[in-house]
């Protein structure tokens, strides 16, 4: 870790400090936006990549596996570019204008381990968060290991309704994920291997 400023930001990310994260967001979004828009991306892609990169850093901090050899900014840009390049490659739209890469950023190419796995997670997470509150509650309780009976006790639904709700939520979530263009790309890979 290079300096106290970076340490402060990393602490903020780890603890979910909104003020620090917002400041980081505002400061770095324009650069990533420029990079992605210049490289066949759209505004939606900018947000996805930016947030997914931050999630990656968050997870690394949680696992205590983050190793910074340069500034946080350099590292973060590297992660964003890696994610975006990977997505472009998948979409076979590989038109990257490398001139956007300044020397500073090129110093420490960030390798994302299990990038396919990470990408899959991003898709699942995104769609789970898009579910309605009731669905999210039932599925969260389910995945925490609660029985149907326990879930119906907590939610106040009848056991039968809880069962029905759980099935429908899960089914529609899987369908949303499968419809995601990013997901289709992911699916192909394991079959080829």
């Amino acid at each position: 870790m290079n300096n106290t400023e970076d340490r402060k930001i990393l602490e903020g990310i780890a603890t979910g400090d909104e003020v620090i994260i917002t400041a980081f967001y505002k400061k770095n979004l324009p650069y990533i936006r420029r990079y992605i828009l210049q490289n066949s991306g759209r505004e939606d892609d900018v947000e996805d990549v930016f947030q997914d990169a931050l999630v990656l850093i968050y997870q690394k901090l949680k696992e205590d596996s983050l190793e910074l050899h340069a500034s946080l900014r350099t590292y973060f840009y590297g992660v964003c570019k890696n994610i975006w390049r990977n997505r472009l490659r998948k979409n076979k739209k590989m038109i990257i204008t490398e001139d956007v890469l300044t020397n500073e950023e090129a110093v420490d190419p960030v390798v994302i381990e299990n990038i396919e796995q990470k990408e899959r997670e991003h898709v699942y997470r995104k769609h789970f968060l898009n579910l309605g509150d009731a669905c999210r509650q039932v599925l969260t309780l389910l995945f925490q290991g609660n029985s149907m009976k326990e879930i119906s006790n907590i939610t106040g639904y009848s056991e039968g309704y809880t069962r029905k709700k759980k099935f429908e939520c899960k089914k529609s979530l899987l369908e949303m994920i499968e419809k995601d263009p990013m997901y289709t790309e992911l699916k192909i890979t394991p079959e080829k291997e």
Binding site: K26, L54, L139
Partner: protein, 243 residues
């Protein structure tokens, strides 16, 4: 594969290792021979993993909110900047409007003058005695004001335009069919050595006047005054009116 509540419960039992032994053995057998089922199970497994990681989910949700907030602020900033752009445009529009009003008014003035001074170049009997029927017909059309007929007839015979008088007729025909640019070319083509040079200049000045270009018109009119010919008197009057 059809997704049913029963299938989901079996998969959930399998993933949480809560299936009774017999059921587990049967299910494992089924999985082994069914690629589609295998994939479905993997999807459920991923789902379980993601949703179990509540910390990351909460972090991602926070990012989503922050992202929305940042976007909102960006839009409101760009709203204000577009507000100023609109305000500036209104000012510009007013300016353009005033200018337009002024120049349109000005054009009204010049086209009034044009109407006041313009008379078609008079028909002279150029075909006297030579019995050229085609030419006679053209002159007939011109006199009757069938300018389009004159144009199409004369354009067919570019050679005929070596005759300066015919150039003047063609120019006048263009002028009366709103083809001022073409008229200008005809009038400009009339050489200084021609006895019709002054006529050409006069009609050129009138064409510019018709276009609302009083500046160009005035400079030609001054030339005509200098020339001191039959159009001098009209040129002086017109210059006075254009002041």
């Amino acid at each position: 594969m059809k997704r049913t509540p029963e299938l989901f419960e079996k998969i959930e039992g399998y993933l949480t290792k809560t299936l009774p032994k017999e059921e587990l053995i049967a299910f494992e057998k089924e999985i082994a021979g069914n690629q589609e089922l295998k994939q479905e199970i993997e999807k459920h497994r991923s789902l379980h993993q993601i949703v179990s990681d509540q910390d990351t989910l909460e972090f991602k949700e926070k990012l989503k909110q922050i992202g929305d907030q940042v976007k909102k602020e960006e839009t409101s900033t760009s709203f204000f900047s577009s507000f100023w752009k609109i305000a500036a445009s209104i000012v510009v529009l007013f300016g353009v409007g005033t200018l337009l009003w002024y120049s349109l008014n000005n054009q009204d003035h010049t086209s009034d003058l044009y109407a006041q001074y313009y008379e078609p170049f008079p028909v002279e009997d150029i075909s006297r005695g030579d019995g050229n029927v085609a030419l006679q017909n053209i002159m007939k059309s011109y006199t009757q004001g069938n300018y389009n007929d004159v144009i199409s007839a004369l354009e067919k015979y570019p050679d005929s335009l070596k005759n300066t008088q015919l150039q003047l007729y063609l120019g006048n025909s263009y002028l009366n069919t709103k083809q001022e640019q073409k008229a200008i070319i005809q009038f400009k083509n009339i050489q200084k050595t021609s006895q019709y040079y002054e006529n050409g200049r006069w009609y050129l000045a009138l064409t510019y006047l018709k276009q609302g270009n009083s500046k160009k018109s005035k400079s030609i009119l001054k030339e005509i005054v200098q020339y001191n010919g039959i159009y001098k008197e009209n040129a002086v009057k017109l210059l006075e009116a254009l002041k």
